[in-house]
């Protein structure tokens, strides 16, 4: 009886090592394995969509998205795929993190051929256990955000079907951009924010199909950050999985009246030169949020080693990169000795703009938005 070949995917940014693995493991496994390799998470996600992978072997230190982040994504998106971490940085902290993130084994990269054979034997034993067909995910606040982030980073096209109780929603991702969301009577960013505020439920990543319309045009980075910010700013519970969606009421987490609007202190001209200053009064302090919509003016994504990964309308790239590097160091220093937890981002409310600078792992994100008044812009400024 012919045995079906097991598909083993090795993910490592060291392409030389991938070559060695392909050769060595191929020799050990004979015809039992089909060995696939990917030098980064993006290509690994592509391979996962193309093939039915039986076992993933992942390095920890990789640029852009590291192995730990990838494990977290896999745990939600592909919980039934067997995962093993193979690293040269086998610390106890990494071991604990990886095993708690769904890795079956945490292996150290060997330095001799005997060691590689032990690795093969371990992987071989593991592949003898067949996981169940199919998968399902548990939707948590961070979970859905992570999945969307990874779909966008990988420039995937997919359709996320989200359900929580009677609530059903869809998020369309095309070539790494979130282009449409719908949930009941809601569409666009309203639906997107609503879905990301759900406290529990299920999601299913499906092949992309064209949406009925394109209701979202903003950058995915900004969309995700805004959704996170709205959740943070709201202390009331998010819609639960047992709730119903009438499509009419706005959930607390996206209530625009909670938005942190900048007060008008200095009045500055287009060249950011201060031309006058007005004392603020309580009435002036907050313009009605519903009368203003944010417009993205500038966006930059960079590694904290200074490599610009993506920028849009950024006229001071070096300055922004330097700012993010500064922020990364300073945020850590600021939190020293204080029970603040992990740093996530700095929000800057300026006179005519809002900046969010976020640091996650080795990636920095800088987004500057301005406020576009949509109704009665002068009336809101009156004392």
């Amino acid at each position: 009886m012919a045995h079906k070949k097991k598909k083993i995917l090795f993910v490592d940014d060291d392409v030389n090592l991938l070559g060695v693995l392909r050769q060595l493991m191929g020799e050990y496994a004979g015809n039992a394995w089909e060995i696939l390799t990917a030098p980064d998470v993006s290509k690994a996600l592509g391979a996962l969509q193309e093939h039915r992978i039986d076992l993933l072997v992942i390095d920890i230190h990789m640029p852009l998205v590291d192995g730990l982040q990838f494990l977290n994504l896999l745990q939600r998106k592909y919980p039934n795929i067997l995962k093993v971490v193979l690293t040269g940085d086998a610390t106890e902290q990494h071991r604990a993190t990886c095993l708690s993130s769904g890795a079956e084994f945490f292996l150290e990269k060997p330095r001799d051929s005997g060691g590689w054979h032990s690795v093969y034997a371990t992987l071989h034993e593991l592949t003898r256990f067949q996981p169940e067909e199919g998968f399902h995910g548990v939707l948590r606040r961070v979970g859905l955000q992570d999945v969307l982030q990874m779909e966008c980073l990988a420039r995937n096209s997919s359709l996320l079907k989200i359900s929580a109780g009677n609530i059903q929603g869809l998020v369309y991702v095309k070539d790494g951009q979130i282009i449409h969301a719908q949930c009941g009577n809601r569409t666009g960013e309203d639906a997107f924010n609503y879905l990301l505020s759900l406290s529990g439920g299920e999601f299913d990543v499906r092949p992309f199909t064209a949406p009925p319309t394109q209701s979202i045009s903003g950058s995915w980075e900004f969309l995700l950050m805004e959704a996170a910010r709205k959740r943070d700013e709201d202390g009331s519970p998010a819609p639960s999985s047992g709730g119903t969606d009438d499509g009419l009421s706005t959930p607390p987490v996206v209530a625009s009246s909670e938005r942190n609007t900048p007060a008008i202190v200095p009045v500055i001209d287009s060249g950011t030169r201060i031309v006058s200053e007005e004392p603020i009064t309580p009435a002036q302090e907050r313009a009605p949020a519903e009368a203003a919509e944010p417009k993205v003016d500038e966006l930059l994504v960079c590694s904290l080693q200074g490599e610009v990964l993506h920028e849009w309308q950024c006229n001071n790239t070096n300055g922004r990169v330097g700012f993010l590097e500064f922020l990364s160091q300073k945020a850590r220093l600021l939190g020293r000795g204080l029970p603040l937890g992990d740093f996530d981002r700095l929000e800057i409310d300026g006179a005519d703009c809002r900046v969010v600078a976020q640091i996650q792992s080795d990636i920095g994100l800088f987004v500057r938005t301005s406020t576009v008044k949509t109704e009665d812009p002068l009336g809101s400024m009156q004392p």
Binding site: G235, R320, A331, L340, G341
Partner: protein, 120 residues
């Protein structure tokens, strides 16, 4: 000015959601108040130094900041700076937006108004 801000700060009372706060003056002295476990004067003073640096680097990037909010997984740090350079940093719980937002705004309003002729 410093005496007046100091006096206001000493007389300020805690509100729901506040964990600790501190004020740092242009002469690099500071004062702190702590209500939550785990916060110590030295660490809050260190944080205030970082806040001042943060305002400077933000301005170097040609952004004129009105307020900074440092977001950590377990708390917020809200910061404002007066025209005379005095900085106020307020550590709050993450529920502040729903439980103590008005008090927080009042607190910063008082900070900006003290010794400037504004009504407290």
């Amino acid at each position: 000015m410093k005496d007046q801000v100091n006096q206001w700060f000493e007389q300020s009372v805690p509100f729901e959601g506040i964990l600790a706060c501190g004020v740092r003056f242009p002469d690099q002295t500071s004062a702190t108040k702590i209500w939550a476990d785990g916060f110590e004067d030295v660490a809050v003073e260190n944080a205030l130094r970082c806040v001042v640096d943060g305002f400077q680097i933000v301005q170097m990037n040609r952004i004129n900041p009105y307020r900074l909010r440092w977001v950590y997984s377990g708390a917020f740090l809200y910061c404002e700076r007066r025209q005379d350079g005095t900085c106020l940093g307020v550590f709050t719980a993450k529920t502040i937006e729903s439980t103590g937002r008005e008090e927080l705004e009042r607190f910063f309003g008082e900070f900006q108004a003290v010794a400037r002729g504004g009504a407290l």
